[in-house]
Assembly symmetry: C2
Homo-oligomer: 460 residues x 2
């Protein structure tokens, strides 16, 4: 257990220091009502590193938790047992059929102009190669447009998209659509420059897509370093030849589960604040940042409320969604399991999937009336410097609920290196700072508690 006496002192000093100033401005009645609770939540959350210790047990014991894997189901079993030990209510699972893609052995060998083994990761959902691999000349392009311009050269080749990282939303299009674009140009396989702004020869995986109008060709990510090297070789006029071998295959759907546990509300137990993260991860690294820390922060937030004896009027339901990474089946199954009445009583859905780093506020998607109430609540997060409501509250797993009109909230954090580790072997426990994770717990606990305890449900 790490202890943070200094940070606790600082945070409490900030809370106290804010009192006189707030008093001068006639503090908002919500702030007055919940300040003591928020102070205790912050004090307790930051006083130890129990969330980090729990995250460490999760990710070290089970490792990556990929859909269809034994690791994932064993991690779910462990979480269930722990949640029962924590004294949470209504601990159970709901069945979800999930895609079952397996990577198998894979390699990318440079054959010409020299022989070298290039670190790579096949993309999730990719088909495999024939057993002897695919050996073909490479065509390197920087963009979809360049491929279009050079389409006549692509036939029979492996197309490498050496697209520099701009932002995730744009660059990920090469991961998602690279195989289809390359296949349409007649390529026999596709490679992408790994979707990351930085690498120490570290490839990143992630989902790819096919469509039914085009041949399904294998696709994998090379490191930034090798994508740039192969591009330079082509620019020098070298004939670049690679052998790509991938055993990847998609098996029949597997059985997985969403995890559910509750802090049952005292007055309106059927009105629910859903709060969670996804329990699955990619099949590399430990899924510590994406999204072990997210689900642990939500879980520990409710556990903390339980330990403090804070029972809100409404129910706070922790959900560990399965299969966010390569199917979003957990998020959809959760929504589908709700009746229209239950959906109408889902007051808010709150997810952490931006990396459990230092919180900077919450994102919110919902009515202006609801936003106005949240603006009155977030001053409680001022001691954590997280007292901002940003415009968008969507996250992948709560997206299906938001589509049904449920107000959505996301935990926003300062994750400068998030995409250095995302979907790579480098997503490991050490990337998550215990003190920062404790702050995530505090923000989630305060926001969930107050929203669950308001006299009226958050207006739609």
């Amino acid at each position: 257990m790490l202890r943070y006496p200094r940070s606790v002192v600082c945070v409490l000093a900030a809370v106290c220091a804010s009192t006189p100033a707030a008093a001068q401005q006639t503090p908002d009645s919500l702030v007055v009502r919940y300040r003591e609770a928020a102070t205790r939540i912050i004090q307790t959350a930051l006083a130890d590193s129990s969330a980090h210790a729990r995250l460490g047990r999760l990710v070290d014991t089970f490792g990556p938790r990929f859909s269809g894997s034994t690791n994932l189901e064993q991690a779910i079993d462990w979480m269930l047992a722990e949640m029962r030990t924590d004294g949470l209510g209504n601990v159970h699972t709901e069945p979800v059929k999930v895609p079952h893609w397996i990577r198998g052995e894979e390699s990318a060998q440079l054959v010409s102009p020299r022989r070298a083994n290039l670190p790579m990761l096949g993309l999730g959902g990719s088909v495999g190669t024939p057993k002897k691999g695919i050996t073909a000349e490479l065509l390197v392009v920087s963009s979809f447009d360049e491929l279009t311009a050079k389409e006549a050269e692509a036939r029979g080749k492996i197309v490498l998209f050496d697209a520099p990282f701009t932002d995730y939303g744009h660059t990920v299009l090469y991961r998602r659509n690279g195989a289809v674009a390359a296949a349409r140009a007649g390529a026999v396989a596709a490679l992408i420059r790994t979707v990351a702004p930085y690498s120490i020869r570290s490839p990143h995986t992630g989902s790819t897509q096919y469509d039914d109008s085009t041949a399904r060709i294998p696709i994998a990510a090379l490191t930034l370093e090798d994508a740039m090297m192969l591009h330079r070789m082509q620019d020098r006029g070298d004939r670049v030849v690679l052998t790509l071998r991938m055993e990847a295959q998609t098996l029949p759907d597997a059985d997985s589960r969403n995890i559910i546990a509750e802090l049952i509300g005292s007055e309106y137990p059927d009105q629910v604040i859903v709060m969670g993260g996804h329990i699955d991860s990619w099949d590399v690294g430990q899924g510590a940042m994406d999204d072990g820390g997210g689900i642990v922060a939500a879980w520990e937030a409710v556990h903390l409320l339980k330990r403090l004896g804070f029972t809100p009027r409404r129910t706070i339901r922790v959900v560990g969604w399965t299969n966010e990474e390569n199917g979003l089946r957990g998020g959809r199954a959760y929504r589908d399991a709700q009746s229209a009445g239950e959906l109408s009583k889902t007051v808010m859905a709150f997810e952490s999937d931006n990396g459990p780093f230092r919180p900077r506020g919450v994102g919110f998607t919902g009515s202006d009336a609801a936003r106005a109430i949240l603006q009155r609540v977030v001053p409680l997060l001022a001691p954590l410097a997280a007292d901002t409501v940003f415009p968008q509250g969507g996250e992948a797993d709560i997206g299906p609920l938001i589509e049904q009109g449920v107000p959505g909230m996301s935990l926003l954090t300062v994750g400068d290196r998030y995409f250095w580790y995302h979907h790579s072997q480098g997503d490991t426990l050490d990337k998550v700072d215990p003190a920062e994770l404790a702050r995530c717990v505090a923000v989630m606990a305060i926001m969930a508690y107050v929203v669950a305890d308001l006299p009226e449900p958050l207006p739609r």
Copy 2:
């Protein structure tokens, strides 16, 4: 070719701007004599990225250049041909017998408490394991002292030194001496936490040592991430079991060569400034930073002087030393090939092996009289903000010359991330900035030219 008009303009503006101020202080006669030459050197070096293009050809075409490898010898052949094309004089090689260690296939498998494949690199010079590997329980310690305290627990185990990076000089002791210390405690194999301050699950290799009094046990580096994870597992009371498989073996010494090329002096051709870097690298990555950029900077510096028609009074001899990484045979062979007379006429030895990043000055080992002269010369480097002579000028390959009384100089650079890439798969061309490499060329060219052209040889 990249062009840097803006940086050239800035640098030249700095040169010009410094003139009036210097004039007010009565500029040193050496600065007056060589300012025009220095300005032209800087202007020309920074006007294009020819050094980076050449480094790219070297490292992309031949890849890593490990002692005993075909890659290394082919790279040497290519350099010889290029140096002749450059019009350098007396281009030749000198034979060197080098150690021939080969890595073979290798792996580290976590067996308990769960199964996982851990990225690793065997350390250079390590013995291999039996074919079926070594499967044993792990003992994790943080230091040699902790191993001593726990010696009774080490027998029959694999000892992992999870020693956090402090500085290279201290932390590298675990890489050098870990196998001997573990073997003395009765361990069957040793592992180290990779010698680096930062990692994206990226292990680093490097030389290890044995002594004749102890059994030779295999030793490899695990990533920071996995060393910490295994330590946490032990701290939790888990029984940690690993299987280490290494095909590593040491073959009979192989034939390699030092490369030599000269800009022959106009007045004292037998007085020599030796300047270079090492041409060999580890067997991973591209050896772009360590030390491809070093030898290319020295080579391009002399090539630049040649292009500018600057022939100094003394000879500047570019030396590409072989086998710095795992034997230092090149540096010793170069020294041994010099007669006493030749050594006495070696005016200075100048090496770049700190990473070809932004120069911040030179280190110097030699007499006070020589240092005083260099202090008069380095104002010529002011436009590059590299006008400082630091205390130590030793580098590995020139060490044997310095021991013989030859003044030694090293190029010092700002390499905050040097140890992120050092001896790892991440030592690739993209880590070397073209503009920074061009500055290295300029510093080496100016210092070598002026020292080679001084009226009197640098005093011993």
